[in-house]
C-alpha cells in the first residue's frame, strides 16, 4: 500500500475508518469499544470496525498526534478505570474538519450534475 504525500497546504483524503474515528471523538473522549459502537450507530452499520482494525487506526493516529490517550475523562462517575480513553488533539480536530470540508466540496460538485437524480416529488 503506497501512501501519497499530501500536496503542500492540502491534506490527503482520509480513509473512511480514520475519518469516522476522528468524528466520534469530536464530542469528547471515548474508550475503544464506545468508538466502535458510536461509529456503527452513526453510519447505520456501514462502517464496521473490529477490535484489531480500530486499534491499528488508533495507533497510527496516536503516532501522528491527532489523538492522545488520557487517564480519565471529565466526568469521573462515568469512567471505567480499566479502560483507556482517547481525546482529539487540535491537529486531529483540524484534520477532521479539513476532511469534512473536502467531502462537502466533493458532494457539491456532484450535486451540480444529475448523478444523484432530481429531487423526489
Amino acid at each position: 500500500m503506497k501512501f501519497r504525500q499530501a500536496p503542500a497546504g492540502r491534506p490527503a483524503p482520509l480513509s473512511p475508518q480514520v475519518f469516522q474515528i476522528l468524528v466520534s471523538l469530536v464530542d469528547g473522549p471515548r474508550h475503544g469499544y464506545a468508538v466502535i459502537q458510536d461509529i456503527r450507530e452513526r453510519t447505520d452499520d456501514e462502517v464496521f470496525l473490529t477490535a484489531s482494525t480500530l486499534y491499528d487506526a488508533l495507533a497510527r493516529l496516536l503516532d501522528q498526534q491527532w489523538i492522545e490517550e488520557i487517564d480519565t475523562p471529565g466526568k469521573p462517575e462515568a469512567a471505567d478505570a480499566r479502560r483507556r480513553y482517547y481525546r482529539l488533539t487540535a491537529a486531529g480536530r483540524t484534520a477532521a474538519r479539513l476532511e469534512a470540508e473536502r467531502l462537502e466540496r466533493q458532494i457539491a460538485t456532484v450535486r451540480r450534475t444529475r448523478l444523484l437524480g432530481r429531487k423526489r416529488a
Binding site: F3, R4, A12, P13, S15, Y33, T50, D56, A59, R82
Partner: protein, 886 residues
Amino acid sequence: MSRLHRALLRLLPSRRRERHGAEIERVFAEQRAVARPRERLRLWVKEIAAVARVAVIERVPGRRTPLPGECRPPRIGSGWTADLTQSLRRLGRSPWYAATVIVCLGTGLAATTSALSMVNTLLFGALPGIEARETLSRVYLRGQYPPNLASRSRTMNISSLGSARFDELRTHGPAVAALAGQRMHTFVVRVGGDTVNLPGSFVSGDYFRALGTQPVAGRLLAAADEDANAPVLVVSDRFRQTYFGARDALGAVITVGGHDMQIVGVAPARFAGYRLSGLADGWVAPQIWLPLSYARGWPGLRDSEQAIDVAVRHAPGATRDAVATALAASVARMDPAPGRELSLNLKPLGHLPQTSGRELASLVAAFLVGPLVLLVIGCANVANLQLARALERTRELAVRLSLGASRGRVVRLLAIETAVVTAVALAIAWFGATTMLGSLSSILPVPAVPDWRVALLSAAVAAAVTMVAGVAPGWIVASRVHLAGLKETRQVGARFHTRLRHALVVVQVALSLALLVASALLTRVLRDATADVPAVASELLVANLNFQQSGLAESAPAEVAADLLSRFERDSRVRAAAISTATDLFLRQEVRYLRPGDDPRAVRQFANVQDVSPGFFQAFGLTPLTGRTLTATDRGTTAAVINVVLEEKLRADGGAVVGRRLVLNRYQGGTEESVPVEIVGVVPTEFKRWERPAHTPQIYLPLGDRIPVTFTFYLRADDPLAWAMPIRRAVAARDGRGVIVDVATAADRVRQEFGPVRALGIAVAWLGGVALLLAAAGLYAVVAYVVSLRTREIGVRMAVGATQASVVRLVLRQALRLVTIGAGIGVALTIPIALALRGMFVGVSAVDPLTIGPALAALGLATVLASVVPARRAARIDPVTTLKAD
C-alpha cells in the same frame, strides 16, 4: 474463544501487542458478547483479516505507520497488496461464502492429500530399515503362457523365482552390489512354552547387506550363515517385545518348525522387508528371518516352487539399465520350459511387475476414488459459487473497468481472491491430513506423513479449477462491457446472465446427483460386507488343520479326519460335524468347469470346489432347493451339488439343471485332471450377504479317501467354543504334535476376514456422508445465490402487487424446473459411474432405484430449502428498499 483470539493476536508485532494487546482483547470480547449469532462469523472473519493485514504490513520495511500528514487515499487499486486487502475485505463481507468455499475445498484437499501421500510413501517413500530405496530394484521375469492355456495376453509376469533360477542370478556382473532374496512362509514357532503361527521369511545371505538394514541389537544374518546353514535367526522388534519384554532376547534358543535356532539379532522397528504388494491382500508383517539354506528340505516346501522374491542393490554409480544388462546374462542361462522364452523385467522397488496394467490402475483407483470424489465435489461447489458470485459482481467489475482498470487487473483481482481462499483451504487440509495420517500410522505398513508436493499438486488442481471458474466470468464481462454500457450492464447482459445462471444450476444439480449416487452406491456395496453375522455362524466352529510341517505320514490327514468325524458325529450335543477339503472357511480351490460341447481351450468359467462329508449341509443349514444333498452313499460316485449362483449360470442354456453333466478341470498334485460330475442337487449360498461366498459359483463333491494336508473340520453346536479343546485333544491323540489346529467360531472368522473391509466400509460411508453434505450444501449455496440475485426483480413484482406466497411459488417453480432438467442429466451420468464401480465391486447394478431414490429426495429437499428460504427473505423486504438498493 478468548484463547483463540489471544493466539490470533500473537501474529501481531510485539510492540503492537504490548501497546494495545489487552485493549484489543477486551473490546473484541465485548463485541462478541453483543453480536447476534449470525453476526459472529462475520466479526471473526473481519478480525482475522485485520490482524493478518496489520501483521503483514507492519513487518514490511518502509510500509510502517505513515508520516504525519499522510493518509491512505481511497483507491480503485494498484499493486498486489491493495488487491490482497481488497480480497480479504470482500471475503470478510460474505463470510458464509468464504466459509463454504473453504470447507468444501479443505475437505477435498485433506482427503486427497492423505490418500495420495499414502500412495506416494508406498511407491517412493523411505521404507523402515531400508537404506537408499532408489538404488534398489525388484527383479521380475517375463515369460510366456503355456500354449494350451488361453489368455488375453501371451506373456505372463513371474514375480517369484524357484531356487535354481535364483542361484543363476547369484552369478552376476559388477553393476550389481548385492542380491536380496526372500521366501515368505508361515512358521510354527515354539517360544517360552507357547506354540504360535508366525509370518516370516527365509532370506539369502546378502539380504540385510543389500537392503542396508542396521540391527537394533546383536547382528543380522550374513552370507556365512547361509553357507554354513547355521541354526541362527533374526527376530523383529515386535517379536522381542511380545515374547521377551524387558529380557534380553539375544542368544535365546527358540524352536522353529522343529529346529532349535538361536536368536542372533533384532531387526529395526517396523522393518518388513521390501515386498509391499502384500498390502492388497491384508498386511502381515514378517516376524522372523531364517537363512535361505533352511528352505531346502523344510517340511511342506518344494524347492522347485517359484517362491523367492528378489531385490537387487545397484553398485555405486550403476544405473538401472546397467544392472539390467548385468542380470540379463544370468536370465539367459536360466532354463525356460520348451517354447517359453524368459526375459528380465527390472522395476523400481515398490512397483508391481505390470506397471501400466489394469490391476495396478484399479488398485490405485479404488484407493483414491473416495477422496477424489470429495475433491471433485468440492471443486464443483467452489466453481459454481465462484461463477454465481462473478455474476453478482458484474456491475462492480464494470465500474473498475470504466475507471481505467485494465482487463488484466480485474482478472488479477479475481485470481488473488481465489488464491487466498485456496491458501486457507490448503492450510486446513494440511492440518487435517497430518491428523488423519497420524491416527492411521499404526495400521499402515509404512508410516506415512503428508507430502507437501502432493498437497501442492492437489491444491494446484483445485486452484486451477476454481481459478477458471472464478476468473473466466470476469474475462467474459470485461470483454462485453463498454464504458458507455456501465449503467445498463444488467440490462444488456440480462439474457446472457439468465442463461448462464440457469446453466449453472443445471450443471450443479447434475454433478451433485451423480456424485451422491456414486457415494451412495459405494456405501451400499460395503454395507453388505459390514452386515451383522448370521445366526448360523455363531453356532459353527471352524477348525483349520495343517499337516504340512507335522512330519507325519501321508495317510495321517485321512486318519485324523475319519477319527474326528466318528468321534463327534455321535455326540448328541453336536448338531452336525463335517469335513471339507477347503483350507479355510473362505479359501477354496478354484476349478474350471466345462459343459458338454465346450472347447477346453476357449472356456474360462471358474467355480470354487470342495469335497465335503455329508454333514456339511446340515452344519451350514443348507436345505436343497431342487434335488438332494450328498449322502454317505455318494462316496466314490460322480454326484455333485451346486449352489444357486452356478445354477443361474447353467440355466441360461435352458432345461433342468439337476441331472446335467459337467467336466471339472482340477489341479491336483501339480497336474490338471478332468473330473466328470453329475449334478444331483442345488443348495442356497452358504452366506446370504457376505460378498465373496455369496456371489461365487460353488460345487460340492463327496469326500473321498484323498484328504489334502490342509483341511477344515466344521462342528455345529449351541456352545461351539466349548468343543475347541476336545478337538485339539483328538488331534493330539494321533501324535499330531506338529499339526497346526486353528480353531475359531465362523462368526469370529467372518469378523477377522471382513475386518479390513468393514473398516473400509466405514471410511467410505463417512466419505459418502461428507460428500452428500457437501453436495447438498453446494446446491443450496448456488440456488440461494441465484435467487438472491433476483431480489430486485422480486421487489418489482411485489411493488406491482405480487403476494409473498406467489413470489415463493414462482421461485420454487423455476428452481424445480431447472432441478428436473439437472436431475435428468445427473441420472444419465450415474450410469457410467455405476458401470465403472461394477468393475471394481461385486453387487453393483447400473440403475438402482433404492440408491437413486434417496439421492433424488435429498437433492429435492436441498433445492426446496434453497429456494424457499431466500425467496421468503426477499419477499419480506419492503419493495421500495429493494428497488432503491440497486
